[in-house]
Amino acid sequence: MNVLTQIRRNDQPIYLDYQATTPMDPRVLEAMMPYFTYKFGNPHSRSHSYGWEAEEGVEKARGQVAKLIGADEKEVIFTSGATESNNLAIRGIAEFYKDRKNHIVTTVTEHKCVLDTCRHLEQQGFEVTYLPVQKNGLIDLDALRAAVTDKTVVVSIMAVNNEIGVIQPLAEIGKICREKKAFFHTDAAQAAGKIPLDVEAMNIDLMSISGHKIYGPKGIGALYVRRKPRVRLVPLIVGGGQERGFRSGTLPTPLCVGLGEAAEIAMKEMDAESKRLAKLQARMLKGLNDKLTDIHVNGDLDHRIPGNLNIGFAYVEGESLMMGIKGLSVSSGSACTSASLEPSYVLRALGVEEDMAHTSLRIGLGRFTTEQEVDTAVDELVRHVNKLRAMSPLWEMAQEGVDIKSIEWAAH
């Protein structure tokens, strides 16, 4: 299948930011089309066939999403995206069980919407433990075991990190949570459709999913809510009582259908696509390593999705590099915070020093990335890194054997 021509015109930069968002798969768009036009009914209209037809589309999609994560379709509710799913899961469960439990465990490298929700709950009187991560970005399971108490209502740990792509040991985390009788929520926005997920085998009670990270549309996501044993939530959005009362509002049928189709395609193609991306990832890394010294991959390389690289180019300012490589669309971190120039809190949590964090780029590979694009990207990166290093006095000193860290900078 060569859909590349439909995705990117020749005059556009090469898209290497698949963790920010993914282009829609044309097959997804095709599945959505009828629901924009002649199947436009309100899926909650029970009195006529337009409504039934829309409902059928929604329910098929619910089944497709459920299948991707080994859930029952009754356990999947649609939301407006992973941010809403994360807000609903953590706040909803904390508020429901607040009379019995008041403690939440999460990690310092979660997405901002998880961290901000936890901070809000702290202001409401909850206690939150922010687990550190190891140098490779993975949590220490013993530290988790020690942190969970009989007051812990939920452990929220992301499946795959959005900046460094590392995969947390979900099955082990789930086991600890089950033993300690705490609920387990995982933000799987970057994981669903990319790595095998099974809510039963991994003892996951709540899972957040995003449409636009898996070649589906924006404005749609899902939350898996376990039914046996039943997990209860206080809803964030109330009204007509749709989605088993967890989430009111008219369901956007075409978006639900798009998410379902995206989930089915991702599941069908996961094995082959992972292998293909692993080759591209290795090719990119080898290309850079062959031609550049002093580069460093942030985060564990083995426990990582193949569609991500996060690389520090020592002695090069990440922002300057990004400005230089005009033919490539990459980012210096999460898209939500990419307009700010602050160094990434994820990289700092790995113990990456601030000067090195500033030199890092997130490179996302995906379904429409080709070998040729990877080669072009390597060439362009090498050229600009070399150019910037040639202008850098620090690079010059380092080449002369000066230990940069020993320099005492004069105060201005």
Binding site: Q12, P13, Y15, D17, A20, T21, P23, M24, L29, F36, T37, F40, G41, N42, H44, S45, R46, S47, H48, S49, Y50, G51, T79, S80, G81, A82, T83, E84, K112, C113, D116, T117, H120, P217, K218, G219, I220, L236, I237, V238, G239, G240, G241, Q242, S248, G249, T250, L251, P252, T253, P254, L255, S329, V330, S331, A335, C336, T337, S338, A339
Partner: protein, 372 residues
């Protein structure tokens, strides 16, 4: 003539062609509006253009518009975000207002479904706690328009903030955020020919607002979450196409005159009050709404027995009950609502099907009476 006449636009309106085109273009282009690279900037400019169109539809500034996942979320956001603990809401508000303020004090409506301003005034002065008043612009079941300017005047005297659910009104009648003087105004795209899954809240500049959704700083820190770019683009195009409102009042009046001529005992609810030109809530004496809806569906006509929300449970209309309509009459009322693609053929077809049903039922009643 098409196989179906869709006359349930207050539940959802089919996507306007301009909205469809804008969405397909945005879906193909992709991009996260928060990304700084070119793909991100292109997505950002689509969102900004749509924001201008939606703002223009309601006389707001683009910066006053916050995109959300729909009217329900917008209503929830306004009520929680106002920071006011005391809420006064009309008896005919949508569930997304009433359920997000379960302790709201209820402002009654009169027999035509219009809020009782004297009652509002009494509630406002009852005690001094600053309140939020939530009154919709147009009702989803009857189309009755509320005197928002008067509501605002009374609220201001008492130091209250005002939220107005304009989900059913926008794109059908002129809506002016600053002319009305409300602090918060909710919109839904799919009620005016835009896509489902997107809506907006206008926050008058200067009105207090505490965001409820936490995460990335999207929508100027007022609503976190990656923007639904295609949905927003479709909303913008639909808003632009709806700016002149709907001119279907003539069709509606013809429909009601015809139905009342067929069955003089039929009642058009809220007809004595100013209301949207696209909505008719009308009873067929002695025939349950569900029966009518099914019979009309078989005849290729889509109408509804009330609001489309929730799980399809048949329960009596809270709106008609608030207007003092007896249960036995309320359960014979259906809602017929027109939109941008309704034409006079649809109306003729509905009149014919309604007449057939009514005649059939009355004749069988007569036969039964004779047999007895």
């Amino acid at each position: 003539m098409s196989a179906f006449a869709y006359l349930d636009h207050n539940a959802t309106s089919p996507l306007r062609p301009a909205a469809f085109d804008a969405m397909v273009e945005a879906l193909r282009a992709g991009g996260n509006p928060s990304s700084v690279h070119r793909a991100g900037r292109a997505a950002r400019s689509r969102v900004d253009a749509a924001r201008r169109h939606v703002a223009a539809l309601i006389g707001a500034l683009p910066a006053e518009i916050v995109f959300a996942s729909g009217g329900t979320e917008a209503n929830n956001m306004a009520i929680a975000g106002s920071g006011r603990q005391r809420v006064l809401a009309s008896a005919v508000e949508h569930d997304s207002v009433l359920k997000s303020a379960p302790d709201a004090e209820i402002i009654p409506v009169d027999r035509e479904g219009v809020v009782d301003l004297a009652a509002l005034e009494r509630l406002l002065v009852r005690h001094g706690e600053p309140a939020l008043v939530s009154v919709m612009l147009a009702n989803n079941e009857t189309g009755v328009l509320q005197p928002i300017a008067d509501v605002v005047r009374l609220a201001r005297q008492a130091g209250a903030l005002v939220h107005c659910d304009a989900v059913q009104a926008a794109g059908k009648v002129r809506v002016d955020l600053h002319g009305l003087g409300v602090d918060y105004l909710s919109l839904s795209a799919h009620k005016l020919g835009g896509p489902t899954g997107v809506g907006a809240m206008a926050i008058r500049s200067g009105a207090p607002f505490a965001p409820d959704r936490r995460g990335g700083g999207q929508e100027s820190n007022r609503r976190a979450g990656t923007e639904n770019v295609a949905g927003i683009a479709g909303f913008g195009a639909a808003a632009e196409a709806s700016r002149d409102g709907l001119a279907v009042e003539g069709l509606r009046d013809r429909l009601e005159r015809s139905l009342l001529a067929i069955a003089p005992d039929a009642r058009a609810f809220g007809a004595g009050a100013p209301r949207l030109g696209n909505t008719s809530c009308i009873s067929m004496p002695g025939v349950k709404a569900e029966t009518q809806v099914m019979a009309l569906d078989l005849a290729g006509l889509c109408v509804s027995a009330g609001a489309a929300c929730s799980s399809g449970k048949v329960h009596r209309s809270a709106v008609l009950a608030a207007m003092g309509v007896e249960d036995a009459v309320a359960e014979t009322a259906i809602r017929i609502s027109f939109g941008w693609n309704t034409d006079s053929d649809d109306i003729e077809r509905l009149i014919a099907a309604w007449r057939d049903l009514y005649t059939r039922v009355s004749q069988s009643d007569i036969r039964q009476a004779r047999a007895a």
